[in-house]
């Protein structure tokens, strides 16, 4: 855990509204994330956490409000543009290139950051030693070195979740969105991944949706609690743990 730094937030969400037809998924939601911190987003199912992620990362345009990232207003920027501003995300439902190897998945993620490389059509990818070095580093960081040549679809669930994180890291983001990274993981994987996420805060801000309360309370610098499309609490873990509104929203569900 690192101390939250004062100064300009890396991400500001200002009065975000998202509507699906008649259903208001998010109402006037505002929050900010400080650089080099781990900021968790918790709340019961259906609270709108993934919808918020989608609005912030450009997968779904909000019907109202503003998103400012690293000083740029990105409210209506396309998803792939936001990646170049420094956002990166993993998905709640694992979304990988299942037919390709783990190494190729990571290589594609790294290549995306070197934007011009993707347009090279006259030679093979292997020539770029710097890219393959980055891939090796990512394999090590996500504990997947031994599985580099495995088909991503053949990995264990925990392995796939780790690969998801690895691909998000490849973008060297300033803010990484992790959507339930620990879901379905076994105890050992949870422990390792928790360490990995913790270590990220020295290089980037982390915005994390997670249901595993003990991990959240342990590694987060700040926690925002959502219910029914609104923010109901936001504070340091110690205060959130004892907040009566939070208790009420969860109605006894704990980790």
């Amino acid at each position: 855990m690192s101390e939250s730094t004062k100064g300009e937030p890396i991400l500001i969400a200002d009065s975000i509204d998202v509507r699906f037809g008649d259903f208001q998924a998010l109402s006037g939601f505002s929050m900010s994330v400080q650089p080099a911190t781990i900021h968790a987003l918790i709340g019961p199912n259906g609270a709108g956490k993934t919808t918020l992620f989608n609005a912030l990362t450009g997968v779904r345009k909000p019907s109202g409000g503003r998103v400012v990232f690293n000083g740029h207003t990105v409210t209506h920027a396309s998803a792939h543009r936001r990646v170049h501003y420094g956002m990166s995300r993993s998905f709640q439902v694992t979304s990988l290139f299942s037919a390709l190897t783990v190494a190729e998945n990571l290589r594609l993620a790294v290549q995306a950051r070197h934007a011009a490389e993707g347009w090279v059509f006259w030679r093979g990818p292997a020539r770029r030693r710097d890219i393959s070095d980055e891939v090796d580093a990512l394999l090590t960081e996500t504990f997947l070195t031994g599985r580099a040549d495995t088909r991503a679809g053949d990995l264990s669930h925990g392995g796939q979740r780790s690969l998801e994180i690895g691909m998000a890291l490849a973008g060297r983001p300033k803010l990484i969105f992790l959507d339930e990274p620990l879901a379905g993981m076994g105890i050992d994987d949870v422990h390792r991944t928790k360490g990995l996420i913790s270590s990220l805060s020295s290089r980037m801000a982390v915005l994390l949706i997670e249901h595993n309360m003990s991990v959240v309370l342990d590694i987060s610098d700040r926690i925002t609690v959502m219910a029914a499309g609104r923010k109901i609490a936001e504070d340091v873990p110690a205060k959130i743990r004892t907040d009566p509104a939070v208790r009420a929203a969860y109605l006894g569900s704990t980790a």
């Binding site: 990362t57 997968v59 998803a79 792939h80 990646v83 170049h84 995300r89 998905f91 979304s95 990988l96 290139f97 299942s98 037919a99 390709l100 190729e104 290589r107 594609l108 993620a109 290549q111 995306a112 950051r113 934007a115 490389e117 993707g118 347009w119 090279v120 059509f121 006259w122 030679r123 093979g124 990818p125 770029r128 691909m167 490849a170 973008g171």
Partner: protein, 317 residues
């Protein structure tokens, strides 16, 4: 096509061997046609195999290439190579323009639009019949047989030229799919939302692929008019798009070499059957249904399965 084609050198060898053997097995004029339509089918196979985009409209670009090459040779007195280059460019530019619009749509919508625009080509030819000759086709195209000092007037020399052109395009396509650009196309084919989330400007990549395929088809059209000496309107009718698609599917889209196998099969079978039974196309259609249901990889994968069978047999011995 797999991002890293399983054995590109083997594919190259098979293609080269086929190209060399072909003129000994069939008349040189037929062999030329095989090479030309293999080039056209390559444009379909590239889009479907590498990017996962099904196009019912590559005939449009082949037709455009043929007309551009023919008109430039006839009215502007352009030489062989420059006219072919212009045909390629015309196909690529038109495909790039149309492509930038239709890649915004996905799935069946995309396929429908390729067919609709594929239809458009014929009506454009009718609309400008002063230049194109309308329903009668473009006649009076000067025969250009001087290729940098060598003559391609005799059928065998013509075939060598056509085969050479196909081989160059084949090598180019192999290169492209094994390149970083090709890996992005494969990523888009495998999981488009993921590719966007990684930061790839997917629409731009798709448009580029469509433009490349359009250029290849345009070249095939130019080669066709060099071969025929005139441009029949059938070069731009929907039937051409369908033919290229069928050839690509029969040959198999898993490898660019499939286009040659498919073209050889289709051209030879249609020549042989059209005498016996004019409705042979119905048999091809039945074959297509069988392929889709039972052998999606086409002839190329059948070849691979047979060789895999041999490998297993020798391993057990």
């Amino acid at each position: 096509m797999q991002a890293l084609e399983r054995s590109p050198n083997l594919a190259t060898a098979v293609v080269l061997a086929t190209l060399i053997v072909l003129p000994f097995v069939v008349p040189a004029t037929l062999a030329s046609q095989i090479a030309i339509f293999a080039t056209g089918a390559l444009s379909v196979a590239l889009l479907l195999g590498a990017v996962g985009l099904l196009s019912f409209g590559q005939g449009l670009y082949l037709g455009v290439g043929a007309y551009v090459c023919g008109i430039l040779a006839k009215d502007a007195g352009m030489g062989l190579i420059p006219a072919l280059l212009m045909a390629t460019l015309a196909g690529a530019v038109l495909a790039g323009i149309l492509g930038s619009v239709i890649v915004r749509r996905h799935g069946v919508y995309f396929v429908m639009l390729t067919l609709a625009f594929g239809q458009m080509g014929y009506f454009a030819v009718l609309a400008f019949k002063n230049v194109t000759g309308g329903e009668n086709g473009l006649t009076g195209v000067p025969r250009q047989f001087d290729l940098l000092g060598l003559s391609i007037a005799n059928p065998l020399a013509m075939y060598v030229f056509m085969a050479g052109a196909f081989f160059l395009v084949f090598l180019l396509v192999q290169r492209v799919i094994a390149s970083p650009f090709g890996s992005v196309l494969a990523a888009i084919r495998e999981n488009e939302p993921r590719s966007i989330a990684l930061g790839y400007a997917v629409a731009r990549y798709k448009t580029a692929a469509v433009a490349l395929a359009g250029g290849i088809a345009g070249l095939a059209g130019g080669l066709h008019v060099v071969f025929l000496g005139f441009v029949p309107p059938s070069d731009i009718e929907l039937e051409m798009s369908q033919r290229l698609l069928v050839i690509a599917l029969i040959g198999g889209i898993g490898s660019p070499g499939g286009a040659l196998l498919g073209s050889a099969f289709y051209t030879i079978v249609s020549e042989a059957l059209s005498e016996i039974w004019p409705r042979w196309l119905a048999l091809i259609a039945l074959l297509l249904i069988g392929l889709v249901l039972f052998l999606p990889g086409g002839l190329w994968s059948a070849g691979r399965r047979i060789s895999a069978l041999f490998e297993r047999k020798t391993a057990h011995e």
